[in-house]
Amino acid sequence: MSANIPGDVKHAKTHEWVRVRDTVATVGISDHAQHELSDVVFVELPVVGRQLQAGAACAVVESVKTASDIYSPVSGEVTAVNPQLVQHPELVNRDPYGAGWFFQVRLSQPSELDALLAPADYSRQIGA
């Protein structure tokens, strides 16, 4: 399928995306990832204040059939988590790049963004 990839995000190879405004990064999973998972029923998010390392598992997304680890694409401190996901985990399927966001991070190493995939490169990776 041809996935919907916004122009203002970068992706990790593991299908997480990050959108940066100043030094705050918002993280979620791609449209490709939510389609693979199908019905998301629960998201386990990191606590606010936790220090994340780029590439380390930091959250879990559960579909009806499976639990999948989410890896933080960037390092830094968690400043916010999406309060909507507790009652409405289906937002991850419906609006993966918008209302289905997972958490926000204050970047400790902004240069990590250079190693992430630009939209065209991620699109190539998923064969879209």
Partner: protein, 376 residues
């Protein structure tokens, strides 16, 4: 090499996500497990269950033979009626759970789990070899000759007869086929068995048909049901639906080391009917109690869903592991985690607080009476 039913091409054409289910390449879902689940609860869903097995037992000795190997009392069956039953080993452990239908006075159709076809046929043949009246019993495993469909949902009665419109003299299935009854119809001049049974807790019909005509029957049912919201439904929804109504799945709630009484299926064990395989162990369990008991539970708060094999803990600061989840999921109808599992009988009372260990954390849950979901 995975086995495929005669509907494989149909599943591919519908864009099904295919998975390995006990050696069969089967549809997990076509659109979404949640959507297919809701379709069955509110309108209708159609499942390919052709991987299941059919064993036909005929002859004057058939009723006695079957009553010796099955736990329920086959003498209760009227003609064209079926019953849920189990087949146990000498230890009372379940070899399979199944439906047995009396098709004619001396002809019985057993519908068995896909994963147990070989084990069931081997066991039945072994028991038959030792049965004194074996010359009056003919047993055939016809599983590879048949396909099967499960049509489930509150609207199915509105279009089931449209699927078999060619037989002008037949009575309406919707009006005359009662729960657990089986009827013979024709489709493309071949016989089809239709029973009013199911594995979802909804009204519905299961159809057993020759494998060659099953694709045409599948297409006909989808066409007849489309105006009523009928959707094809896969094994993912089949599992969430049966878990909500606490129906056991062999390999989870039942296995060769678990008895029907431990699984709460005493209603299907006719201890008074006479001797049958496993009876002495089951009678002993009935009198003295069992070592474990199957309970149903609901998560007490929004949490990750309970899943098979997760440990069950007693609640509180002195909590300890007391059992394991056998089936678990997020309930699409209830919006909360649900499941079943085995605990010691003394810890099985309804309203008991327990905890499900999920990734090292204890998610609070409560033991509740079965079923977890009931139509209001």
């Amino acid at each position: 090499m995975l086995k495929r039913t005669s509907l494989f091409a149909a599943h591919q054409k519908l864009g099904a996500r295919l998975v390995d289910f006990g050696g069969w390449e089967m549809p997990l879902q076509y659109s979404s497990i949640l959507e297919e689940h809701h379709a069955v609860r509110t309108a209708a869903g159609l499942f390919d269950i052709s991987h299941m097995g059919q064993i036909v037992v005929r002859g004057g000795g058939a009723p006695e033979f079957l009553n010796r190997v099955l736990t329920n009392d086959i003498r209760k069956l009227q003609s064209r009626q079926g019953q849920y039953t189990l087949m146990c080993n000498e230890r009372g452990g379940a070899i399979d759970d199944l439906y047995v239908y009396q098709v004619e006075a001396e002809e019985f159709l057993l519908v068995v789990n896909a994963s147990r076809i070989s084990a069931d046929a081997a066991w039945l043949n072994q028991q038959l070899a030792a049965f004194p009246g074996r010359s009056t019993v003919d047993l055939k495993n016809l599983s590879s000759d048949f396909g099967a469909l499960a049509l489930q949902g509150p609207k199915t009665a509105q279009f089931i007869d449209a699927c078999f419109s060619s037989s002008s003299s037949s009575q309406s299935l919707a009006a005359t086929l009662r729960k657990n009854e089986i009827a013979r119809r024709e489709f493309l001049a071949r016989p089809v068995f239709v029973s009013r049974t199911g594995y979802t807790g909804e009204d519905g019909f299961e159809m057993v048909a020759p494998a060659e005509i099953t694709p045409a029957l599948w297409a006909k049912v989808l066409e007849a049901g489309a105006p009523f919201g009928l959707k094809p439904a896969g094994l993912g929804a089949r599992d969430t639906l049966r878990t909500e109504v606490c129906y056991p799945l062999y390999g989870h709630e039942l296995d060769e080391d678990t008895t029907p009484l431990e699984a709460g299926l005493g209603a299907f064990v006719a201890l008074a009917k006479g001797d049958f395989m496993g009876r002495s162990v089951l009678a002993d369990q009935k009198a003295r109690g069992t070592a474990k008991k199957l309970v149903a539970f609901k998560s007490a708060e929004k949490s990750a869903p309970p899943r098979p094999h997760y440990p069950i803990w007693s609640a509180g600061p002195d909590g300890r592991p007391i059992g394991r989840v056998t089936s678990g999921t997020q309930s699409p109808s209830l919006g909360i985690g649900i499941g079943m599992g085995y605990v010691p009988p003394e810890m099985s009372a309804a309203n008991s607080a327990i905890a499900i260990e999920i990734r090292g954390k204890h998610a609070p849950a409560t033991i509740v009476p079965k079923p977890l979901y009931r139509k209001s």
